[in-house]
Symmetry: C2
Subunit: 336 residues, 2 copies
């Protein structure tokens, strides 16, 4: 199967057109397309146009409101709430970002509780604009049960990513974004296809026993959290920060109400923004952190987390990206 | 070697007397003794009276000011700074806790930047009082280089614990406290003594190669972060949140200035406190979170993180705890 070359603006237009043809208004379509464009620009195919069929499915099933109008409220001096009205998350995030930033600059720290949204994008794309504007930023979201609590045999926690961004002045911010699952399900599927064994700690079989055989994980088994009981505790923390704090569904609750159309369930997200200039080292903090990054950069074999994403950005903006021809055909099919 | 039985109040008095005989004033001595008493009460011997020789050493060397008077300032509506004045951390924490709680209740979220302190205690003992008062609480601190960044061969990050507390109304809060290192150095030493191999992912040998031999880790090797690159990213995040934000030493900087007397280096700590009643689900959040804990509690093999600490509390309060006679002799030696 051959690949199709698209400029990033062509990616954006294809996504906007497909979403609009399936019930999105132009604002919501553009916001989703922005996140897909950013993913393709940074070679993150798993959050790129590959996700369009899922977005479309959840519009076609009526689960997601493609014409949702987010409502942004200030619940307290340091807490912004954005009610996405049952739409996709990106528009609610775009419309509440400035309120979160303003609250963080006024108070030193602030939180954004995103509710009633369907989240299907990468957190790094949401954290990067705030970190680039000088705010230390964290984000957390849940999903449906996919990760087994340490010691148990059945999934309870979502894949539950967390994301952290640190501003670097004129340089792109340091942003890492990592799931609580030890490995993405797609990677396990690739290992099964290729007949390769996995490292220990990735999953369990249908009896709840540890296995390094990817087929046993996929066939009635389940994924573990990264790092044993410590990653499991982080997955629990994310359930509490996202759903516990904001009144949204825990992953296990989202699974009960979701229609399994292939798109994202309804849920929430929590973002925290911190203004480093309000913490007592307003002159020095930026240069100080660079001394740590410099230490890391000169260590053989080490790498600044998230750095790889930036490496292809310029080239992809100039030359475009390629997607599988079959995916391109599928996406074009959404236009009519 | 036999053990010596002490009531928890005897532990507290022994610690106070030893610290006062070595330069602590009564306020600082009592604050440190509170954290040691809490550790012994919860069967956390590694942060209990076992640490007293380190505290004493850093008083005797003059590194720590045993008569420090913390200064608490509000840097912005959501940011409290507590300057420990070169003393141990516990007094600065005790004196700034109410300011952090008040800022969190006023704003919904607030931060405490603890600076110029010597931190040698467990974070859970600091988080629990705030979580018990109804605030979601997080804490982070650094140390000296002990953990190798993912892919590198030499330590750069501290053991870098993070702690998270969730209020549970009348029940004790859910509090977990975990180091960024895959395993405590003491546990590696015990495995070496017993001739046991370690699981993969704990450490590297002196050539920077992965090893499961504890002796190779101790003999010029180093500890890895838990969970591979994801735990390593969390260790980096903690360096930035603690030292980057507050202007305190990164772990690699603390190692340069520390006198290696066996006590803790000078450094900082970051605490975050969140008032869940300000996030839009003020009526329901407490009961909602209990539904998740209930799901976890009925899963065979699973356990609520931190639960084990509470199990022995009542018995130890009633019957006291035992410490090695040699340690007791050492501690009594500090009294004269």
């Amino acid at each position: 199967m051959s690949d199709v070359l698209l400029t990033l603006d062509e990616v954006h237009k294809l996504v906007v057109d497909a979403l609009r043809a399936n019930g999105c208004n132009s604002e919501n379509a553009a916001a989703v397309a922005d996140t897909i464009r950013a993913a393709e620009r940074d070679n993150c195919a798993s959050h790129g146009i590959f996700r369009l069929p899922g977005y479309i499915a959840s519009l076609q099933s009526g689960k997601v409101n493609g014409a949702a109008s987010p409502v942004v409220r200030q619940l307290s001096p340091g807490v912004i709430q954005a009610d996405g009205g049952g739409g996709f998350a990106p528009l609610a995030l775009q419309q509440s970002r400035s309120a979160l930033a303003e609250a963080a600059r006024n108070n030193g720290i602030a939180a954004l509780a995103l509710i009633n949204v369907h989240h299907f994008a990468a957190l790094w794309a949401e954290v990067e604009p705030l970190a680039a504007s000088g705010l230390v930023t964290m984000a957390f979201t849940t999903y449906k049960p996919a990760v087994v609590p340490f010691g148990a045999k059945d999934p309870l926690y979502g894949t539950n990513p967390m994301c952290f961004g640190w501003p670097r002045g004129d340089k792109p911010p340091m942003v890492f974004d990592q799931a609580s699952a030890a490995m993405a399900r797609g990677e396990v599927m690739i290992a099964a296809r290729d007949g390769e064994m996995l490292p220990p700690g990735v999953g369990i079989d249908s009896d709840g026993l540890p296995t390094t055989n990817p087929s046993e994980i996929l066939d009635g088994g389940a994924l573990l959290a990264f790092g044993g009981h410590k990653g499991s505790a982080i997955a629990l923390m994310i359930e509490l920060l996202v759903a516990g704090l904001t009144g949204q569904d825990f992953s296990f609750e989202a699974a009960v109400t979701d229609n399994n159309d292939g798109g994202p369930p309804n849920g929430g997200e929590l973002m925290l923004a911190i203004d480093p200039s309000r913490f007592g080292d307003s002159e020095g903090w930026l240069a100080h952190a660079e001394t740590l990054f410099e230490k890391l950069n000169v260590m053989e074999g080490a790498r600044l987390p998230g750095d790889r994403r930036y490496s292809s950005r310029e080239e992809n903006e100039a030359n475009g990206i390629s997607i599988p021809a079959s995916l391109h055909e599928t996406c074009k099919g959404f236009l009519t």
